[in-house]
Amino acid sequence: MTDQNTSTTDLTTQPATLASELFAPGVGAQAGPPTTPADSTDVAPGAHSHGGPAPTGSPAERFTSTDPDAFGVPTGREETWRFTPMKRIKPLLDGAASSALLGWTTDLPEGVELVRVDAGDPLIKGLPDPVDRLAALTRQNADGADVVRVAKEAQLDRPVTLGLAGTGSDDVVWGQLVVEVGAFAKATVVLDHTGLARYSGGVSVLVGDGAQVTLVSVQDWAPGAVHGGQYDAVVGRDATFKQVVVTLGGDVVRLVSNVQYTGPGGRADLFGVYFSDETQHQEHRLWVDHAVPNCTSNVLYKGALQGEGARSVWIGDVRIRPAATGTETYELNRNLVLTDGARADSVPNLEIETGEIVSAGHASATGRFDDEQLFYLCSRGIDAETARRLVVRGFFADVVQHIGVDELQDRLMATIDARLGALPGLDEQPVEVA
């Protein structure tokens, strides 16, 4: 990046500010940079990276293919797999074809159709390509797709809801969903995952020009469930895409969310919230590709972890290509580590290849309770335990309130409340005068 570019680039990275919010550092908590050494030979000019350029999987050289074998069989040492518990996700990566299905419950408002297309359909060929072996296996084994189609200019009177329930079978369920929203339509689509399953599901959202689409994906799986998936959004000119990912249940959940823009003026908001309990692995990888001018992206992921072996991984890659002038992007990941024995990895990565942008920034913070927040609440007479519940509840509500579907928000907050009720050792961290 040239000096001139630097002067027009508003880098709002603020690790220092957020770091000041952290207390009791080093207690089971880790934030980026990652543990593998960075290869410093192929940094893109102007790259601003906390994660360090990766040997594979970095935005600049991302490989995609519909052929699973083109990716090879991952060992767990690859950049895209190094955080994933390979043994636990093996049933999916083995890739055995199956005809197992999830149980579907659908609520389709007027103006919405749900159809099945086969693998040869042009729609399938036009979807963004898989970015890893699991996604390629999924595309292959799903053998076609279920398509939710929202007519152009449709204004839905309620959300499209797809209840996807695991049946408890050991057979892997392969799924490919396409949400196709016509120009200037306004739609909310809720994917509500429950039950016990081994599930790998691709989700492609095609957002027509000027359309406003909200995709909500709730992972409220039963214990033991394994869920992988690649989510793609293709955002049209002047379109708005909002995604809210809520991961609460399951044994392993690994979701890869990608955003690309097909015309200027697009906006993508990616919200996520996760709550990892004892032994749960929750991994969210994001990749926003700014390749056209005047688009906006905003990422906010917040997670809490409690219990031995609770694990979360957040990778936030944003690339601003040379043509993407006028880009505005910000990403933030915050992790709240509630007990010892939990670990959060957080790796933001921003690559900027043009200085002609509005702003670009990211922040990541992982820590314990914010003592200043607790002091403030306690100074109003609220006991320390209630104050902690308020803070954690608020931490989640901050994201959940973006869903915009009241009944679902209430259900999710009730689930979170129940989980917090089981929080061990809450009384053992009193806020008192030294």
Partner: protein
């Protein structure tokens, strides 16, 4: 009737070699119905006094006593102090994301009163007090202090004071960063509490400006961690004219 008694209070911050004594023997008594102004230059320890009384964990009490109606305040947790009747309006109130003002106020009122306030009268009380502080009703649905302007934060602090009805209220630089209109609105809120309750007020300020709106009964000059002069409102007038120079050693002036 409340009496807050501070006797020979010594307070440090930091640990080990970084330990620094901030308060060096503070004596002060605040009774119900009285308004005390504590005035002093920056860095004199005024805010430390406020936060020490409220129980902020950053500060270590190394000597002296603080009692409220004879009860040992220093033995109480932060929330117990508030329930005993102490209130601190903070200079820099923190954001609490995802917690709405209305939820926060009701939770606090429930904690202070020991039972949930009746919904109908509570909503009316909140609306009335917000109107009195010239706050828009949409304010109640915002997250606590999140994106608040300086003036909104201070109004929100005084709103809490109005609703929680403390026995002793400590106002830490409530006037800082306020424009004239906001200063008037906030001061009128404090004065309403002085009129309709028996609250004792400890008003901590750097400037005499707020004392034009909130008339103190007593003025204390605070320098280098202790009270160095005391008097009535006339002392504030003298500080207005002469500043703190007469109380501060030359070296400390240079430092400030």
């Amino acid at each position: 009737m409340s009496v807050l008694e501070i006797r020979d209070l010594h307070v440090t911050v930091g640990e080990g070699d970084d330990t620094k004594e901030i308060l060096r023997g503070v004596d002060l008594t605040v009774r119900s119905g009285e308004t005390h102004a504590i005035m002093g230059p920056n860095g004199s320890g005024k805010s430390t006094l406020a936060y020490s009384i409220a129980g902020h964990p950053k500060y270590t009490i190394t000597g002296g006593t603080v009692t409220l109606d004879g009860e040992d305040v220093l033995a109480m947790s932060v929330d117990e102090r508030a329930r005993a009747g102490l209130f601190l309006a903070m200079q820099y109130p923190v954001e609490v994301p995802g917690v709405s003002v209305s939820n926060f106020l009701r939770t606090a009122a429930t904690a202070i009163k020991g039972e949930a306030p009746k919904l109908r009268t509570w909503v009316k009380d909140v609306k009335t007090e917000m109107a009195g502080l010239e706050m828009d009703s949409a304010f109640a649905e915002r997250n606590v202090n999140e994106g608040f302007s300086g003036g909104e934060k201070k109004r929100h602090e005084i709103l809490q004071m109005r609703l929680l009805k403390p026995g002793i209220a400590i106002l830490d630089e409530t006037d800082s960063g306020l424009d004239v209109d906001a200063l008037r609105v906030v001061s009128e809120g404090v004065n309403r509490s002085r009129e309709d309750s028996d609250v004792g007020v400890l008003l901590i300020t750097h400037y005499t400006r707020i004392l034009k709106y909130i008339k103190p009964d007593f003025v204390h000059v605070f320098v280098a961690g202790k009270i160095v002069d005391e008097g009535g409102p006339e002392l504030a007038a003298k500080l207005e004219d002469e500043g703190y120079a007469a109380y501060v050693k030359p070296a400390e002036v240079a430092q400030a």
